[in-house]
């Protein structure tokens, strides 16, 4: 695994840590916490700090150091976690998120001077905060230009110069015995820009000093390979440094062998696999022969204390798998599903469709498919954990007090959905706070709590995930929405609309009722884009609103995009799949329900509403298809641009199909969303409803033989 991959892993762990911290803050805010809650936050920050140091992200490391110092004072009881202090801790968390993002994107480091000052003040003075880094603390750090920050060690000298020389390990009578660490990078430790000296620097910051540099493996100048690492070090660390901290330095490298022992006796034994701590991260270079290390450390009275630090291998509950490998598995399972379907069809043709083995295979295949898709599933927590910060920022921007209630954050959904739901969800949250909730004064006047409530929930429902964003605000002012829609020319002044239809006007492009345009919302773009994004995920959005009580936006999404429920239809000799999520109803029309539209078009009367008839054959270039709606089937679908009645020859089946990308396997085709392979081995194209219905608007529909 190269350095970039390991660094990528570090940032993934940062994200997970930050999400965990956000959850911990929610608990802390509720006052329902114990010592472990703040311990967990501390550990997250500590872990980020360790990785930041290993990868040379100096500013991130310096910032986490100060943050960690404050958290340490809270967890050891030196500071009471008052609401004011919690605000600082949470504010510092937001800044930490920015720092992590800056390190990941190699972008400008956030201006953290003010926050560092707050952390320092909260910690009760600069001496505590700067104790370990000395003058490289806040003042020095914040004055450094952002341009010097990167994956190198530009600031190394400054920080190195400030590392206080550690006390000689073990000279204090009651101090714990010092540590002896043998660190030997493997020959390939310099690959991909890795720099073992950064780790030495980390150890120096823990108070470590190199007592021996082993150059026995260093070849002559003629023979040396400049890209190989040859040196190894024996480092003395003070006994006060925790084993966890020392090992954390090596958390993100596997290109080294390390052996950590309590420096209990003057003559340390050669590190062996039975030593208290022995980590052989790689075997490219043999561990160095241990030289006798002179040490003034007293012998350990209690041998158990030496063994106490023995690492307990963590329970292997999770593993990280490259996403490409997972996608390959998903793809193979998709192929298996198709093959199983083809086998079933072939056996049915041979009158063997009822055999129990086939039924077993079908069950197993479906179980395998569901299990595989479950691997790709991620909890909505990944998305939800970002919401508290959005709310905090909005509170500051719009001057409202908001309480966020989250439910069902562990509900799982496919990774693709998780990745793409963030933007529309953020917009709905911003909309709820900016438009939905009244001002604090308004709420008091309405007899409500001054603090508005925004609820975010996720739940599985009928094989789909339903995400709801609701607020206890003023609800949709339908009179105002209607007036605005008339003003914008979206509806005619005399249009008769139901409450639901009026509510849905807010999804019209260019619609906005915000009295003033703010940074938050009100620019007239957004809700239409939200709906478009949701529909692109195969989902639907609906509104429930009661004036004065609040609004609720429900998003119903498929659990995965790799399979979809579709209606299998034929048009001429061809077979197509229409996504079930778009289908409203299907019917065989009579002459009375069809009305001529212009010269060659027709409208279907669906209980008083007129829907344009849309012969798919004309738009897909199929010659021998049925053109007479009374002899065909009309499938009423709901697309981006309203409803349309698709004219097809017959409905053959309704089933779940495995979606294959047409772009990846062939090329993009307008009006076709993808393809699938049917049980008979034939390829069926999946109709892109939104693109096709968009065409149905400006184009007159030919209807050659309509009654």
């Amino acid at each position: 695994m190269d350095l970039n991959a390991i660094q990528q892993m570090f940032f993934q762990e940062c994200d997970e840590g930050l999400a965990g911290m956000e959850a911990a803050f929610a608990i802390l805010r509720d006052g329902d916490h114990d010592a472990e809650t703040i311990n967990g936050v501390f550990r997250c920050v500590h872990s980020i700090k360790g990785g930041a140091g290993a990868f040379g992200h100096e500013r991130l490391q310096a910032y986490t150091h100060h943050y960690e110092t404050l958290l340490d004072l809270i967890r050891n009881g030196s500071l009471d976690l008052t609401p004011a202090l919690l605000d600082i801790v949470i504010g510092a968390f937001d800044m930490l998120s920015d720092h992590v993002a800056a390190a990941r994107d190699n972008s400008a480091v956030p201006a953290d001077a003010a926050m560092l000052a707050r952390l320092e003040a909260a910690a009760g003075g600069g001496s505590t905060v700067t104790a370990r880094v000395g003058p490289a603390g806040p003042a020095a750090t914040v004055s450094e230009p952002a341009a010097t920050v990167g994956d190198d060690f530009d600031d190394l000298m400054a920080m190195l110069g400030d590392v206080s020389p550690p006390a000689v390990p073990g000279v204090e009578a009651d101090a714990p015995a010092g540590w002896k660490l043998v660190y030997r990078p493997t020959a390939n430790a310099l690959d991909h820009g890795a720099e073992p000296l950064l780790l030495l620097r980390e150890l120096a910051m823990l108070g470590g000093t190199v007592v021996d540099c082993d150059v026995t493996a260093l070849p002559s100048l003629d023979a040396i390979d400049p890209d190989c690492a040859y040196l190894g070090w024996t480092i003395a660390l003070p006994g006060t440094a925790s084993e966890e901290d020392i090992l954390a330095v090596f958390e993100f490298t596997d290109a080294c062998a390390i052996a950590l022992t309590r420096d209990a006796v003057a003559t340390a034994p050669v590190p062996t696999p039975t030593d208290p701590v022995q980590v052989d991260a790689a075997d490219a270079t043999p561990a160095p022969a241990a030289d006798p290390v002179a040490s003034a450390a007293p012998p350990i009275d209690d041998p158990k204390s030496a063994a106490k630090g023995a690492p307990v291998p963590p329970a292997a509950q999770t593993i990280r798998v490259d996403l490409d490998k997972l996608d390959r598995l998903v793809n193979l399972v998709g192929e298996l599903v198709i093959t199983q379907s083809m086998l079933a069809q072939r056996l049915t043709e041979c009158q063997m469709g009822g055999i129990s083995e086939l039924s077993d295979l079908e069950h197993l295949t479906r179980d395998l498919q569901e299990s595989t898709m479950a691997i790709r599933a991620q909890p909505m927590k990944t998305v939800f954990s970002r919401v508290p910060r959005i709310i905090r920022e909005l509170e500051g921007e719009v001057g409202k007090r908001v309480r966020l209630e989250v439910e069902g954050e562990m509900t799982e959904v496919d990774k693709t959905v998780v990745e793409r739901i963030g933007e529309p969800l953020t917009h709905l949250i911003r909309n709820a706070v900016d438009h939905g909730l009244e001002s604090t004064e308004g709420r008091i006047a309405a007899g409500k709590s001054p603090e508005g409530v925004v609820r975010l929930s996720a739940a599985h429902h009928s094989g789909r995930i339903v995400i709801t964003v609701s607020d206890d605000g003023q609800g949709i002012n339908r009179a105002r929405v209607r007036a605005k829609a008339i003003e914008r020319g979206i509806i005619l002044p005399d249009a008769i609309l139901t409450d639901e239809e009026i509510d849905n006007l807010i999804f019209a492009p260019g619609f906005s009722t915000a009295a003033t345009i703010s940074n938050v919302s009100g620019r007239g773009v957004g809700m239409d884009v939200v709906r478009k994004n949701i529909q692109a995920l195969g989902g639907r959005i609906s509104i429930q609103s009661r004036e004065g009580v609040g609004s609720s936006f429900s998003l119903s999404l498929p659990l995965t995009l790799a399979v979809l429920d579709g209606m299998i239809v034929t048009i001429g000799e061809q077979t197509f799949v229409i996504p079930l999520s778009h289908i409203v109803e299907s019917l065989r029309p009579t002459g009375e329900t069809l009305n001529r539209f212009g010269l060659d078009g027709a409208l279907l009367d669906v209980r008083g509403a007129y829907v344009p008839v849309f012969p798919l054959a004309d738009h897909l270039g199929i010659a021998d298809a049925e053109r007479d709606p009374t002899k065909a089937v009309l499938i009423v679908v709901e697309g981006d641009h309203g409803q349309a009645a698709l004219l097809v020859d017959t409905i053959r089946d309704q089933r779940q199909v495995v979606v294959k990308s047409l772009e990846a396997n062939y090329q993009e085709i307008d009006g076709v969303a993808g393809a699938t392979i049917l049980g008979d081995g034939r390829v069926a194209l999946i109709v892109d409803i939104d693109t096709l219905t968009a065409r149905s608007r400006p184009v007159r529909i030919p209807l050659a033989e309509a009654a």
Binding site: D152, F153, D154, L156, M157, L160, G161, P185, A189, L190, G193, E195, P196, L197, L200, R201, A204, T209, V210, V211, D212, C213, D214, V215, T216, L218, P219, S220, L221, D222, I224, P226, D227, A229, Y230, L231, W233, D291
Partner: protein
């Protein structure tokens, strides 16, 4: 023979540094290296300098980084190589008779 080190002594700089040191160590003249302009130095270059220092000691050639500059001095000290890579004010270690020399900081 004077020689000046590059500003950035990262891993890619180690190969050219090795070549330059091999050429410079060809003669019997003392090799004084100007390291005052070094801003960054990584393990790869320090190893090459250590190997050169060892070769110089073996051949009885004077080898010294003079002047060194704080960044390079700090990195050499961090790596525990201040004996094998002599800095201004120090001569090559008398005890260094070959390149397989254990170094104690």
């Amino acid at each position: 023979m004077p020689m000046t080190l590059a500003t950035i002594l990262d891993t890619p700089a180690a190969g050219p540094l090795r070549q330059a040191l091999k050429q410079a160590l060809g003669g019997a003249e003392p090799l004084l290296i100007d390291g005052s302009g070094v801003e960054r130095a990584g393990l790869a270059c320090l190893q090459v300098l250590a190997a050169a220092g060892s070769a110089a000691a073996q051949g009885g050639t004077v080898f010294r980084i003079d002047p060194a500059g704080p960044p390079l001095t700090a990195m050499i000290a961090l790596a525990g190589l201040d004996t094998l890579v002599p800095l201004a004010g120090h001569d090559a270690p008398a005890a260094a008779t070959g390149h397989h020399v254990p170094v104690t900081a």
